[in-house]
């Protein structure tokens, strides 16, 4: 990886460039450390989640995906294709984010997936609670097919909100430091 000055990249109109952020966000974006941490954290999580599902797409993703009850079962190729393709999208987007290649596009994909699946997780948990009325919402443990196995719903939602904020930061950040420059 090479380190480039943010100001230089901005004048080139490269990805992530444009007008620098102002105020607190501008200061946060200045040295590129916050963006680097966000890239490593978000990319790392999605590399892990993608890899777990690729290793066992049926048990780790197809079956949990079906329990969401938000996708049509007929024709079957819709659900099956999503179970096969989405983990690879996660993995590749995660790798690109860590490397800093096509960062904004990768963050956009991850933001979109989180924005779609987080309400689905809530819907899933509410459905589970309706079927098991004695269990308080904050005590629900479920396997949402996210790649992290069975997890407490509150922890999962907090994690997703954190990941959404990281993806949002990578979308708005102008920093061009600590990236693989030749691919920009």
């Amino acid at each position: 990886m090479s380190e480039t000055a943010g100001a230089v990249a901005e004048t080139e109109g490269a990805e992530g460039g444009g007008r620098p952020l102002s105020g607190f966000l501008g200061k946060l974006d200045q040295d590129g450390i916050a963006t680097l941490i966000a890239r490593l954290a978000l990319g790392g999580v999605f590399i892990h989640h993608g890899w777990v599902k690729i290793a066992d797409p049926i048990e780790k993703f197809l079956k949990p995906l079906k329990t969401y009850d938000i996708l049509p079962l007929e024709p079957p190729w819709i659900l099956n294709s999503i179970a096969v393709i989405l983990p690879w999208v996660e993995l590749i987007a995660g790798v690109l984010i860590v490397l800093g290649i096509w960062r904004r596009a990768s963050a956009l994909i991850i933001f979109g997936m989180l924005a779609l699946f987080t309400p689905a997780v809530i819907h899933f948990a509410l459905g589970y609670q309706a079927a098991h009325p004695g269990i308080p919402f904050h005590e629900i443990v479920l396997d949402c097919g996210c790649g992290s196995g069975p997890v407490n719903i509150v922890k999962k939602l907090a994690e997703n909100v954190g990941l959404l904020l990281l993806a949002l930061w990578l979308l708005v950040s102008r920093s061009q430091r600590f990236i693989l420059r030749p691919f920009l």
Partner: protein, 227 residues
Amino acid sequence: MPGCSRLFSPCTLLQAGGIIAIATAIALASNGMREKQVDLDNQYFKASVLADAARESAAAEKPPATTPIVAPPANGGTAPAVPAPPDTTPSAEPVKPVAEPVPAEEPPADGIQRMSLEDCRDLIGSPVAVFVDARERDFYLAGHIPGAVHLYHYDSAKHIEEVRPILEAAFMVVVYCNGGDCEDSINLALDLVTSYGLPNENVHVFEGGMEVWKAAGLPVVTGESRE
């Protein structure tokens, strides 16, 4: 890359499309090459499809709710209703309390017969019955019902011929999985009937699965051995 400085620029969207296209190509290629692949055209969840269809059919056949016609009170609706005095006239026969009609248990929409734990327990060692474990191989190896053969539901097309002679020789084929919310046993049972040609009357599902079996303290066999 020039032009990617704005959030939703065509460049960013093009790159996002490129990532998805590359991921799709790699995903489909790798899925085609792997041992444990997802058959894209296979319906793995037949039981749910049939249950959904049955629900929709029942909803379509249900008559629309009608408002009960209530005769207006004789006094024009102003006086409070007075309960009728109890009928004290002696009758020839004592009035028997009428029991609430018990609704008959509806057969499952999938048409597969269910078996209880007691029924399954009696089948251990039976020469005419065979258990089929629809779970992943690791679960089978960790512990299965004595005499059970392994046929993972999501991989059944590849391995059905290995167990077909055993299944066809049995008069009762009892499929099970983990129990609880697990539907793999029903889905595999449906495959055995609709895709692999076993007679419907021979195929049963033990819905309690291994959870109920183990909880009852019944014997379990580990490893590849069936006995």
